[in-house]
């Protein structure tokens, strides 16, 4: 982590509001968590997060000047996680690394696994909205901004997603 290496290889030449490596260090775990929630595969999640940060690094002179650069990275992750073609490539790459790297995700509890499995079984937009709502603690307006859609659309996805989740998790009293 020598500063000279970071300055040469990570930081773009243009001065921006925050150093890329500070942003990366602060946000990386959260973004892996988001990708993990959306994909259910820790190694795919790491690769998706890394790809998103590399994309951010490439445009850091622009992305770093945004009010919420993390929202840009979240959007890259949610976009890429929904492309199964892309995920297939990422999974292949992740499998190639499987033997040589230790897992960086410990197994969450059974109830947590069950919840996120149920989220991933939702239609894609519902799953994305629910994930951003709970995992990232975003409100409707922030989710709409992240996904580039109307707030009313997000409300519908959240409502339907929560109803479906309650049914899948057999919270009958919640849906009655």
């Amino acid at each position: 982590m020598e500063p000279d290496v970071r300055d040469e290889e990570i930081l773009p030449a243009q001065v921006v509001a925050e150093r890329f490596d500070d942003f990366y260090t602060r946000e990386y775990r959260r973004m892996v968590g988001l990708a993990l929630a959306l994909t259910g595969d820790s190694r795919v999640a790491e690769d998706l997060a890394q790809d998103a940060f590399i994309a951010a690094h490439r445009k850091w002179s622009e992305v770093g000047s945004y009010d919420k650069p993390a929202a840009w990275v979240r959007r890259v992750i949610t976009n890429r996680s929904r492309s199964l073609a892309r995920r297939a490539r990422v999974e292949t790459r992740a499998l190639l690394r499987l033997a040589s790297t230790a897992s960086t995700v410990t197994a969450p509890s059974e109830s947590t696994e069950e919840f996120w499995h149920a989220v991933r079984a939702l239609p894609r937009q519902q799953a994305t909205c629910v994930t951003l709502r709970y995992l990232e603690d975003l409100d409707v307006a922030e989710i709409a901004a992240d996904l580039g859609c109307a707030e009313s659309t997000v409300r519908v996805h959240l409502h339907r997603g929560r109803l479906a989740l309650a049914q899948r998790l057999r919270l009958e009293e919640e849906t009655s």
Binding site: D21, H57, W72, N79, A85, T106, L165, L169
Partner: protein, 171 residues
């Protein structure tokens, strides 16, 4: 739905805590270097193909055009134009690879069958379409040398094969 909210928040905290990965700036730097080398290799291959094949590589049957300013023109060159046709049966774009000879602004024109979109993984802000009947959706993007992954963002279409690549040479 208080109980669902409680379960969701607990599951969120548990998931975040399960991620034990430590951000490694040096590893990130190595990945950036690796991507740069890979992009440079792709650019070199594209340049060789362009030089051998002619001034501009045009995919089979493509309507792609890359504008070139006339000699002596003082105005800055106009954005290159990349025409992409969406096809519904089977779900695909007309070509697997679209080549652009040099970096810079490119106007992408999406035409073809209705109901499709064009998104670029590396440029998440851009989504053209969904196309109405007879519509050509356009957008201008600033492409750097390297490869860009194109897909239709309509659920199920990319998975069915509606993906392509834009390869940008270094001029």
């Amino acid at each position: 739905m208080n109980r669902l909210d409680d379960i969701a928040r607990t599951a969120s905290l548990d998931l975040v805590e399960s991620v034990t990965v430590v951000p490694d700036v040096d590893a990130m730097a190595r990945r950036v270097r690796h991507r740069r080398r890979r992009a440079a290799t792709i650019v070199a291959v594209v340049v060789v193909v362009v030089v051998v094949g002619g001034a501009v590589l045009v995919p089979r049957g493509s309507s792609q055009r890359v504008s070139t300013p006339p000699a002596g023109q003082l105005d800055p060159p106009a954005a290159s134009i990349l025409e992409v046709n969406a096809i519904s049966v089977p779900l695909t774009f007309e070509h697997d690879v679209y080549a652009v000879s040099s970096p810079g602004e490119v106007e992408i024109r999406l035409g073809g069958d209705t109901g499709h979109t064009l998104a670029i993984e590396e440029i998440p802000d851009l989504v053209l379409g969904p196309l109405a009947a007879g519509e050509v959706a356009t957008g201008v993007v600033d492409l750097q040398a390297g490869t860009y992954h194109v897909y239709c963002a309509i659920p199920g279409h990319a998975e069915a094969g509606m993906v392509a690549t834009i390869a940008v040479g270094d001029g």
